[in-house]
């Protein structure tokens, strides 16, 4: 799998979970990888959630809505990684590295 990359050791990911968003932004995947993930978010997540993430077959993922629901990087990462049983949301854990997933979760929570 070409996309699967692990850039940050597992222990460091654990540290980042505690450190929160700011530290995460410093330790996020390399710039070219971020561009790939951004493209993936727009086009592949977008095939269900809408390219502008306003929702489709899947729910809207706009930042204020996610925040209203009380989502965090942790909770979103879990959903992205494991999927949501009984719905069309698949687990992305087999395809994306943990740090990729946390970067995407962080992106989703940030207002643009």
């Amino acid at each position: 799998m070409v996309l699967k990359q692990t850039l940050i050791p597992i222990a460091l990911v654990g540290l980042l979970m505690q450190a929160g968003t700011e530290a995460w932004a410093q330790e996020s995947p390399a710039q070219p990888r971020q561009q790939q993930l951004d493209y993936l978010l727009k086009h592949d997540c977008g095939s269900c959630h809408g390219m502008t993430l306003q929702g489709g077959l899947g729910p809207s993922l706009l930042p204020n809505l996610l925040q209203q629901k009380g989502h965090t990087v942790d909770s979103l990462s879990l959903i992205i990684s494991k999927g949501v049983p009984g719905t069309a949301m698949p687990p992305w854990g087999p395809i994306l590295a943990d740090d990729d997933i946390r970067w995407i979760a962080n992106q989703l929570l940030q207002s643009k």
Binding site: H43, G46, M51, G55
Partner: protein, 372 residues
Amino acid sequence: MSKEYWLPTGDLGIVIERADGRVALVNTTDREKLAVIDGLGDLSHASAVFSRDERYAYIFGRDGGLTKIDLITRAIDRRVVQSGNSIGGAISQDGSLVAVSNYTPGGVQVFNSDTLERVLDLPAIGKDGKASKTVGLVDAPGNRFVFSLFDSGEIWLVDFSKGEPVVTKFEDIGKQPYDALITPDGRYYIAGLFGEDGLALLDLWHPEQGVKHILPNYGRGEQRMPVYKMPHLEGWAVAGNKAFIPAVGRHEVLVVDMNTWQELDRIPVHSQPVFVMASPDSRQIWVNFAFPENKHLQVIDAGSHKHLTHLQPGEGVLHMEFTPRGEAVWVSVRNKNEVHVYNTQNFEKLASLPVASPSGIFFTARAHRIGL
């Protein structure tokens, strides 16, 4: 007055430039891009139908926009934003009505195809009392529209043949219909089910017989595979007496005998199929795949079910469209910003056109096909 370009529209088609809210106007004989038409909103999941005179294209955008494009002036004729979030549409048999199906707030809206004035707002409140997302909207003979309710598991038939619309509802058709097709003769409406195994079948010659559940043993099965892109169902997938259906989650194309509605075969394919399309002569079946295997394209012989070729046009093969008689097929290669044209006899690439983030390809010959 807009400038007019009087080319015969039978040669024309459009390609959705999904990231930029534009469509490219193309000529399928000369294999060239003629113009780009801008200002169509969010086209991340867009589709199109054509007026019966092949002059106008109606584009259904993700943001609920319905845009009528004039292929002669190469400009937007009119545009309405009819809902928050739409998924597809259809044009009636007589060409007078355009219907749009919606995710949010759900339901179907129907418009006058000349003026885009709304003639019907039909909320899809299911048996459960909740608004449902609507999917698999198609036109059917008798000036009817058919669609499915994703959340409540229903099929609704809207009959405009007597002027005032009459709605017939079929409940408990199966869990989470995700898309549907109507056979090219307009007789059978088949909805794929995401939430359970099997397919829902409605015989439009005999709606009084209700919806049948077919192929109960086929589907995602016990060991459910994750699905990274919902498959699409289209009338193209019918070849002779066989229907070729993308499996949900499995690396297979299912072949169904349309006389008995029994399974004939399961063809192993490269990955999870998205579009499974029969060529106009019903001899070849072209298959593209879900992320992350979407750089592949496989071609299967509709008679023997053997693989004919395996192409790799590039990352993001999103859609295919055959020329009206099928000597060539056009393929969207999203990440390369290209549309490739392949010879269907020897699979050689005939042309490559620059199109930004291409997705759906729609040629005007669709104007004269039922269910497209």
